[in-house]
Symmetry: C2
Subunit: 245 residues, 2 copies
């Protein structure tokens, strides 16, 4: 029988107490990165609550970005965020390596396509223009972190899209180093699609952070449009903006 006893007047949901406890365990380091959290049934037993309540607590841990769940395997402690420096994205991969981050790239899909109305508008090319498309999955220390789909003008950079199966640094340097240019970027939070969730190892309907970039060369011509979707708890974007008026 359910009775929400509150002796001192304060109604603190039970699952919140469990969250506080688990959070303390993680922060204290007793549960290191990628360590398994107790299962829903174990939490329920330890704290004397029903499984659904234990589940709420563990889901709250996920919402806080402190844990992630793997279906039928368990829940685990999240690794720290990966910073994405927007203003020096040309060096993202090399910078990450310098900071001791082991970034790995998996090519999910490559292909040729023509620009539909939306892409044509973004890239300022006529509709039907030939584009190359790549989708890559970025893993940080083996842990899926974000997905990127990139569209580039086919003529210019077709060769680049073939080379790098899992190569890390050469890619960005080859592509960007000859240019000094600017980029428009848009960042928002949105739910993951089923496929995205699958690739990122998440359950669908969870929220992630989407970042869209439109990169221009020094003549002002847009030549590359990319759309990233990050695990929200792992993403951080930093930039230096010029405040104009």
């Amino acid at each position: 029988m359910y009775r929400n006893t509150k002796p001192n007047g304060t109604t603190a949901p039970r699952f919140r107490r469990i969250v506080d406890h688990l959070r303390a365990e993680i922060i204290a380091g007793r549960l290191p990165e990628h360590a398994a959290l107790p299962s829903e049934r174990a939490v329920a037993g330890q704290h004397g609550v029903s499984r659904m309540t234990a589940r709420r607590a563990l889901e709250a841990m996920e919402a806080e970005g402190l844990a992630y769940s793997a279906e039928r395997k368990g829940r685990f402690v999240s690794p720290p965020r990966l910073n994405y420096p927007v203003s020096s994205m040309a060096n993202f991969l090399t910078d990450a390596e310098k900071n001791g981050v082991e970034l790995e790239v998996q090519v999910i899909a490559t292909g040729e396509r023509t620009a539909d109305a939306a892409l044509a508008g973004i890239l300022c090319v006529p509709e039907g223009e030939a584009l190359s498309e790549v989708t890559r999955l970025f893993l940080n220390g083996g842990h899926a972190t974000f997905l990127e789909t990139e569209y580039v003008l086919a003529g210019l950079y077709a060769d680049l899209l073939q080379a790098h199966d899992a190569a890390t640094k050469p890619l960005a340097e080859q592509r960007f180093s000859p240019f000094g240019h600017d980029a428009d970027i848009v960042i928002r939070m949105r739910p993951l699609s089923a496929e995205e969730a699958e690739l990122l190892g998440l359950s669908p309907n969870q929220a992630g952070i989407e970042a869209e970039q439109l990169v221009r060369d020094e003549t002002g011509q847009a030549f590359c449009f990319s759309r990233q979707i990050w695990r929200g708890e792992l993403a951080q974007f930093s930039a230096r903006a010029i405040v104009n008026r």
Copy 2:
């Protein structure tokens, strides 16, 4: 008795069907902005599921950013996103007005304080330096959208912090127009604290988007640090970044 019948082999969770149905209602415009969604009990009855399942569906709507819930009032259709153009933040309020957005500002708290280690480090001033602090709530058409806490060097801008109780445009223009300068910005997703959730009209443990800005004057001296926390489904940040190497 629970029986997850799947005649054609595909296991589509029931609550997902309900989500699809509600999403279609919204997109078709049958449920306009801020209109009430059917209650948990109503959804349960209409779709012949238990209330907990109906609840899951409605919570998924929230996760998608299509709805927001008001405790003991109901769930409602979310308004569209508000774009925050990082590169022209000096004109954020006036720009928003030009685009037909009715932005309203409520001052939640103001005060004087001294810089602790963290703030001193960020603003590059000695620890103990006098700062002015303001917390404001921004509403879009009466709908709470984001909270901002701003720290400025007390000597320079103390007067500015008093003036604007609910004033919209004068604030930013007065403060920024004499300067041409740059700003560092950091964007990430994080859960809301209990107080933030309260002010934004959300339940705690939900995720929002945090944006931190460090603004410098033309001499390079940091003079203003602000931290915003947005309702995730309403936030969008756009910027033009210079890609350096």
